[in-house]
């Protein structure tokens, strides 16, 4: 922990490369526009150039390794898998091998939620916490589980898909083809669906076409201004999330459950009912033994810190 790390956050729109100091400060960053690339070798060349630039600007920094967080990155193979949604590059990308060969330091890749969990462990609120769950709320819902100080990978490095926990077997259609997955209610998209359902119900046959573009942030702003429908939206969201988190507790008996991501930023309209329902839905043997906390990583740096922290997994 006395060396710097490179963290690379690969998203569908942008890729950010950051140099992270041993104490978890993002010292400098550089960006690429992911969506402009259809050729992965050009993409990787430009990532290598970006890293070289950061290292050139900070010649005193000794770097322990390179961590890569991406939606479809596989920890065991070190590849971004083929046909990743939101990437124009459809072939598998050997990110770890390429970066290890160019820089001769370890490179580790994993999905965003696992990166968030290890980020919290190394730089955030879980430094002293061996048993915790990280839940990332965003376009989807992801999770990473730490058990006795170790991240749970599972047989195929596919553990921790809490977003696809079925919480309502006859509920909403999920993009996975099943019904009632947690993320159909608690992702940013699910929250917007709930709001539109409520408005539609209240307005009867009223046209809600103008609401197609509303965002989770918009609904959060409305809730914080006292809009009753927006407040009810987050109450419903909180109940489903509480059931999902209570179910997570029955698996791994964590001390803490951390939340990260856009929808958490609404604050009390979500968090107040969440604590109420979590207390109601939690199995009694866990009462007072597990708490819900917000990630202690700075929101803007979290993805880079999570990626950088991955180098501590090996």
């Amino acid at each position: 922990m006395n060396k710097h790390a490179i963290g690379i956050d690969i998203g569908g729109t942008n890729t950010t490369i950051g140099l992270v100091s041993p104490d978890g400060t993002v010292v400098a960053t550089t960006n690429l526009s992911t969506q402009e690339y259809s050729d992965s070798s050009k993409f990787m060349d430009d990532i290598v150039s970006g890293i070289r630039k950061l290292l050139g600007d900070h010649e005193g920094a000794t770097v322990a390794g390179i961590g890569i967080g991406a939606p479809n990155a596989n920890f065991s193979t070190g590849y971004i898998e083929a046909n990743t949604a939101n990437l124009r590059m459809k072939e598998p990308i050997a990110v770890c091998n390429i970066l290890q060969d160019r820089f001769n330091i370890p490179a580790v890749a994993s999905n965003d939620a696992d990166a968030a969990a290890i980020g919290e462990r190394i730089y955030g609120g879980a430094k002293e916490c061996d048993n915790f769950v990280m839940v990332t709320l965003g376009t989807g819902v992801g999770s990473g589980f730490f058990v006795e100080g170790r991240l749970v990978h599972g047989a195929n490095c596919m553990a921790g898909e809490l977003g696809h926990l079925i919480v309502n077997p006859n509920g909403r259609d999920c993009s996975c083809g099943r019904k009632g997955c947690l993320e159909t209610y608690t992702s940013a998209r699910g929250i917007c669906d709930t709001y539109r359902e409520l408005v539609s119900k209240n307005a009867g046959t009223h046209d809600i076409a103008h609401l197609q573009q509303i965002t989770c942030k918009d609904i959060g702003d409305l809730a914080n201004k006292g809009d009753a429908t927006a407040i009810e939206t987050f109450r419903i969201t909180a109940r489903w999330l509480a059931i999902g988190l209570a179910n997570a507790a029955t698996f791994s008996n964590p001390e803490k459950i951390f939340l990260m991501g856009g929808p958490t930023r609404v604050g009390n309209p979500l968090l107040h009912p969440l604590n109420h329902y979590f207390s109601e839905q939690l199995l009694y043997i866990y009462k007072d033994r597990v708490s819900i906390e917000l990630s202690q990583l700075n929101y803007n740096d979290a993805a880079i810190l999570g990626a950088a922290a991955l180098i501590h997994l090996k």
Copy 2:
């Protein structure tokens, strides 16, 4: 693994003490009637006598340790906790300390489901399987999770409460005070409730008082004789169990899920629809990567083998 082990299965009605050979054969057993004891020191004295008798009868056997499986045994403290339902002895019982002191060999205690999981790992079908879930169906539903070759204990040794996964938030009342826990549908008791509901529905206002004493085994026998209501009972049971097992897979990405316990003995009326619904409810990324299997431990020996296997946890 070249030594014998003592396995003690403490149940509300009976306690069985067994001597287990290194290859997983139950060489000899002796029994106590748990329900006759209200004084735990007398109970422990009689357990000590039972162990002495087994060892006296098999003087050539070197014993590595003593494992104790009990519904409310705590792995980290080595105690059976206070006020265990079904035990007349209400004080905490220091089973591990007492047995270690008397025999000067290690003693390890854990709950039945964890014992079943480690039993499968040491003596059964999970010898080569690092990532699996053991689900025990009985009066309740329990579970034990192995992740990367290690049993998941959790922060308070309370991990693996799959029976209390909420699968139907507006569903049946559970003894835990919440609604729609997996065990309200898939325990022996839950299966009987489903059968009675179906009979009551089919019979209209017909009196079903005569069904109060029906057992899960009775319903299994009816199903195997072709009784349509009993067959429908197990179809419904299988659907809920499939949702619970699919949810377990999203947590730990296991290679195998083992089932153990009375309700599994009905065979095809449960297992055939279970495989159908599991395939339907499993998140697509796990398809062909996880299978449901029956425990390979002999039904009558499973509890003793699980208890004996606990000594391999330390």
